[in-house]
């Protein structure tokens, strides 16, 4: 079995360190775009460290599920990160699971997140879980369909395989099927990472928050794990989008150190570009009402279906 | 020894004795004795028939082939169960003042005569005598139907006798025509009116006349056998008669009329040798099955529902005969037997329920009978499951046999129709019985004197027999049935 421990270690590290930075950067740029000074990009590191040091307050109603959830959320998102190719092909753990496993693991994390929201008997948590599960449920088919479109062309569910096949024919990037799928996946990404127009990561206004509502009762290191896990999940999804749908500059198997460096730079560039897009979208759009969100996601679904149809036509 | 004669004489003697003996227990015992004797004789008869093919007495005045032997068995079993059940039943009625001792005597006198009449029907070789015997059964049973001198029972009896004897008059007309055909055949002498003789000359009979005859006979005996649309007396009589009588009417009397019809059917088929009579049986059989189901679905009265289910079973049996493949005929005969073992149990149970709740209306009986009469409900439930054709009971087997035989004979449509009709009645009976048998009693209902063990011996006997014969048909019985099927199918 081709498990490269070094690669594994490096990618884990990358994930852990890069994730907070990305969300920091996005926060920062957003502030800039809104003519605020905003927190420094690396502020998120300090937040996490602070959370880790702080004492914990646990609700008297909460059961062991409440204490179990943060680990699941954190570890699942970390593990999915290892199944997605970041700087080199194949991803360290591509053998252990492809896109289906990634989606499944993220769902597992979400499952426990939602449970932990319900556990402390607070109405906010319940509301958060309910909305989270609802939105993810209607986001799921669009996500799957988008991935199917690329997976079918690659004839595999293995992310690295898909990336390779996409790489092998670069003009496929202009294939309408591909573009449509890309768009669909981007919308899903916004929903899954709790971004405007679906959710507002910055708010604690009870009627609008989704993700934050579930975390209300968390404090101290559990909160740290949750936040960190969330940012890792966001990074993973972005990476998925970048390296699977747009694998430009991605280093192939057994690449030299230099090649790896190049691909790392390319990856970071793409990442920043994507973050920029996200920032623009977030600032130029207002948050949708909850019952408008399905319309957005069904748009994504339709896009994915179109992608499928066109790929059917172009075969 | 005069086997057939003694089968006829024993019940008659028992009936006449009941005129003189006083205590009701003795009368009941006499009935049981008589019919257990005939049952024994019937078994002997079966063995002789298997050996000799046809048993005859008094210069072929009486004769028994496989078919009649089979019917003899059915009559004896059902009558035996009835007289087993009747004793306690009427004791309780007398105690409750529902009926006078004199009427009870009437029952004990008439029931054996009723039985004897049916024996004569199946044993008589002469078609005219057969007609007379059928009329005799009708007359004896009508008095039994009217036994409770209530308004409803009188009404039922009146409809029964009017429709019945009118039908029988038509049947007589038909019989006369058949005889006329025989005479036309040899204008000199007075020909014998024996079925066996007619069969031997069947080929030479005037087909037109026979067709005409069969129309009349069909309407006539069809009325007595309760084929729709001549069935209208059936639910009334079966529901208003005392439960033992209902059991006999539903259990055998219908089948006896059907037997008489079959004799002519065989004759006609042998003469015309086309599907003329068969098409009658098929059409009216299916019609009966389908007419019965809606009445079951929305029935409000327990015994009427049972009566309609009998109607449906008779229809099924007719269809079985009409499909006329050895398999279906065999299945139909089998169905006769299993039905004869099943239906009386249901009527006995209905009798117990009637005596406990003083009504047969579903809404009066209400849910939760099981809490009051557990044993009765258990036996009734089993019998009901058998009646709606669930394994391991034999009716499932016979129904499957008929249906598959029909498909084998490429009669797919008919088989499908049968399945549909059975399905509908299944739903009806299941729903109705679940409604009353299961559940909790409503508070403050008068379940006065519940006697848990009433009539259990009779019911247990029949159910035991049913289960036994459902898993094991002894070789002689199978042989008998195959011979009977051969007789009906026209291939000896």
């Amino acid at each position: 079995m081709n498990l490269d421990p070094l690669l594994l270690f490096l990618q884990t590290l990358l994930l852990l360190l890069l994730a907070p930075l990305v969300s920091g950067v996005i926060k920062n740029w957003k502030a800039k775009l809104q003519n605020r000074r905003g927190p420094r990009p690396w502020q998120v590191y300090f937040d996490i460290a602070k959370f880790l040091r702080k004492d914990m307050v646990i609700s008297e109603h909460a059961s062991w599920v409440f204490c179990f959830a943060p680990y699941v959320v954190f570890l699942t998102s970390l593990l999915t990160g290892l199944m997605v190719p970041m700087v080199s092909l194949p991803a360290p753990l591509s053998l252990f699971g492809g896109v289906l496993a990634v989606v499944g693991l993220l769902a597992l994390g979400r499952f426990f997140l939602a449970l932990s929201g319900l556990d402390p008997a607070s109405a906010f948590g319940g509301m958060g879980s309910s909305r989270e599960m609802t939105i993810s449920a209607i986001a799921e088919p669009a996500l799957m369909l988008a991935i199917f479109t690329v997976a079918i062309t690659a004839g595999s569910t293995d992310l690295s395989q898909i990336a390779q096949s996409t790489q092998s024919a670069t003009l496929k990037l202009l294939n309408p099927a591909h573009v449509l799928a890309f768009a669909a996946f981007f919308i899903v990404l916004l929903a899954e990472t709790g971004r405007i127009p679906v959710d507002n990561p910055a708010t604690h206004l009870e009627l609008t928050m989704i993700h934050e509502a579930m975390l209300l009762e968390y404090s101290g290191r559990y909160l740290a794990l949750m936040e960190w896990g969330a940012s890792i999940k966001q990074l993973v999804l972005m990476t998925l989008l970048l390296n699977v749908f747009f694998p430009v500059g991605l280093a192939g198997p057994q690449a030299s150190a230099a090649a790896l460096g190049v691909s790392l730079i390319a990856y970071l560039a793409k990442l920043l570009a994507l973050s920029a897009v996200v920032v623009v979208v977030e600032t130029t759009n207002a948050k949708l009402r909850l019952f408008r969100v399905p319309d957005l996601l069904s748009t994504a679904f339709v896009l994915a279906t179109l992608a499928l149809l066109s790929s059917f036509l172009f075969h | 020894m005069l086997l057939l004669t003694s089968i006829l004489v024993v019940p008659v003697l028992a009936g006449l004795l009941c005129l003189v003996v006083r205590p009701p227990r003795v009368m009941a015992a006499l009935g049981v004795l008589a019919f257990s004797t005939t049952l024994g004789l019937g078994i002997v008869l079966v063995r002789q028939v298997l050996v000799r093919g046809v048993v005859t007495e008094w210069r072929e005045f009486l004769s028994a082939d496989a078919l009649s032997a089979w019917m003899v068995l059915l009559i004896s079993v059902v009558s035996l169960a009835t007289s087993l059940y009747a004793g306690r039943y009427f004791r309780r009625d007398v105690a409750a003042g529902a009926i006078t001792a004199g009427r009870v005597r009437e029952f004990h006198v008439l029931t054996p005569l009723f039985g004897a009449g049916m024996f004569l029907v199946v044993l008589a070789n002469n078609l005219g005598v057969m007609w007379a015997a059928v009329e005799g059964t009708a007359l004896s049973s009508v008095l039994l139907v009217a036994l409770y001198n209530r308004r409803n029972s009188l009404e039922a009896a009146w409809k029964y006798i009017i429709l019945g004897s009118l039908g029988l008059a038509l049947a007589l007309m038909g019989t006369v025509f058949v005889y006329a055909a025989a005479c036309k055949n040899n204008p000199q002498s007075l020909p014998s009116f024996n079925w066996s003789y007619l069969m031997s000359v069947a080929g030479k009979l005037d087909p037109h006349l026979l067709k005409l005859a069969f129309v009349f006979v069909f309407i006539g005996y069809g009325t007595k056998a309760g084929l729709a649309p001549m069935h209208t007396w059936l639910p009334d009589a079966h529901s208003e008669a005392p439960s033992p009588t209902s059991a006999m009417l539903s259990g055998v009397s219908l089948k006896i009329a059907l037997y008489a019809l079959l004799r002519f059917h065989i004759l006609t088929t042998a003469c015309l040798d086309d599907g003329f009579s068969r098409s009658f049986l098929l059409g009216f059989g299916l019609f009966s099955m389908f007419l019965a189901t809606p009445f079951i679905l929305i029935q409000r009265n327990l015994k009427r529902m049972l009566a309609y289910s009998s109607l449906e079973h008779i229809g099924l049996i007719c269809v079985g005969f009409a499909l006329n493949s050895p398999v279906t005929i065999f299945g139909a005969l089998l169905h006769m037997g299993y039905h004869a073992l099943t239906k009386p149990v249901l009527f006995f149970a209905a009798g117990n329920i009637h005596q406990t709740f003083h009504s047969l209306e579903f809404r009066v009986i209400g849910p939760g009978v099981v809490k009051v009469l557990p044993v009765t409900v258990l036996l009734m439930g089993l019998a009901a499951l058998a009646a709606i054709g669930l394994p391991p009971f034999g009716l499932f087997l016979s129904e499957m046999t008929i249906i598959s035989g029909g498909l084998e004979a490429q009669q797919t449509a008919v088989s499908v129709l049968i399945v549909v009709a059975l399905l509908a009645s299944f739903c009806g009976i299941l729903q109705q019985l679940t409604r009353i048998l299961l559940g909790e009693r409503k508070p403050g209902d008068h379940t006065g004197d519940a006697r848990r063990m009433d009539g259990v011996p009779a019911m247990a006997m029949l159910l035991g027999g049913l289960l036994f014969f459902s898993v094991w048909l002894p070789a002689p019985l199978l042989e008998l049935l195959h011979q009977a099927a051969g007789i009906i199918g026209g291939k000896p």
């Binding site: - | 002469n126 005219g128 005598v129 007609w131 007379a132 009329e135 005799g136 007359l139 009508v142 008095l143 009217a146 001198n149 209530r150 308004r151 409803n152 009188l154 009404e155 039922a156 009896a157 009146w158 409809k159 006798i161 009017i162 004897s165 009118l166 008059a169 038509l170 007589l172 007309m173 006369v176 025509f177 005889y179 006329a180 005479c183 036309k184 204008p187 000199q188 007075l190 014998s192 009116f193 005037d206 037109h208 006349l209 005409l212 639910p235 009334d236 529901s239 208003e240 009445f295 929305i298 029935q299 409000r300 009265n301 009427r304």
Partner: protein, 207 residues
């Protein structure tokens, strides 16, 4: 002579009074007996004489006497209100007669005493049947039933060379007697229970 039976039958349908009906029935049965006698004389078949005599005793003397007695016993002389008005029923009977002839046509060959007795027998049967439908009183229904029987017997005498075998004749005869007695008993009980003989009151059993 058979035609006369038919005439009587039609008279019965037109007639409304109960006792008169009984007498008419007696007359009809007398004609039947006569026909039987003629047949017997014609083929000098002894046992058909028996039939004639039995009919004479039973249907001409005994049954009418029994029914009359019953009528007097339960005190009903009131009018019979039929289902159809007399003209209509007459028309219907005409139709039935026609049908009888149509049905009987193929069999004229086997008629012993000519002038299509079979047709008349059939017509008697059908009109008797109609009479039964048409009348509501229990007793008239009994009468109608008996006329049907007459039709059958006529056929029996007319169609077959020497009538039916004696056993059968006897059996039938006694069955008819018993039937009438049973019917009488029932009529009596009904009268007791319903204080009426109107069978249209017998409609409690539905569904």
């Amino acid at each position: 002579m058979a035609a006369l039976m038919l005439v009587v039958q039609l008279l019965m349908i037109a007639q409304r009074m109960l006792l008169t009906n009984i007498r008419l029935f007696a007359i009809q049965s007398f004609f039947l007996a006569a026909i039987a006698a003629v047949v017997a004389y014609h083929h000098n078949a002894s046992h058909v004489y028996v039939v004639a005599v039995l009919t004479l005793i039973g249907k001409v003397i005994f049954l009418p006497w029994l029914l009359t007695r019953l009528v007097n016993r339960i005190q009903i002389h009131e009018e019979i209100e039929p289902l159809f008005s007399p003209p209509t029923s007459m028309l219907i009977c005409g139709g039935l007669t026609l049908l009888g002839y149509v049905v009987a046509r193929p069999f004229t060959s086997l008629e012993r005493l000519g002038n299509n007795t079979l047709a008349i027998a059939l017509t008697l049967l059908l009109t008797g049947f109609f009479l039964m439908i048409n009348r509501r009183k229990a007793l008239t229904q009994v009468l109608a039933l008996l006329t049907v029987e007459n039709g059958v017997m006529l056929a029996a005498v007319a169609l077959t060379t020497y009538g039916m075998p004696l056993v059968v004749e006897l059996g039938i005869f006694f069955d008819v007697l018993v039937a009438v007695m049973v019917l009488g008993i029932l009529v009596y009980r009904i009268r007791e229970n319903f204080a009426s003989m109107d069978t249209s009151k017998l409609n409690q059993l539905k569904g």
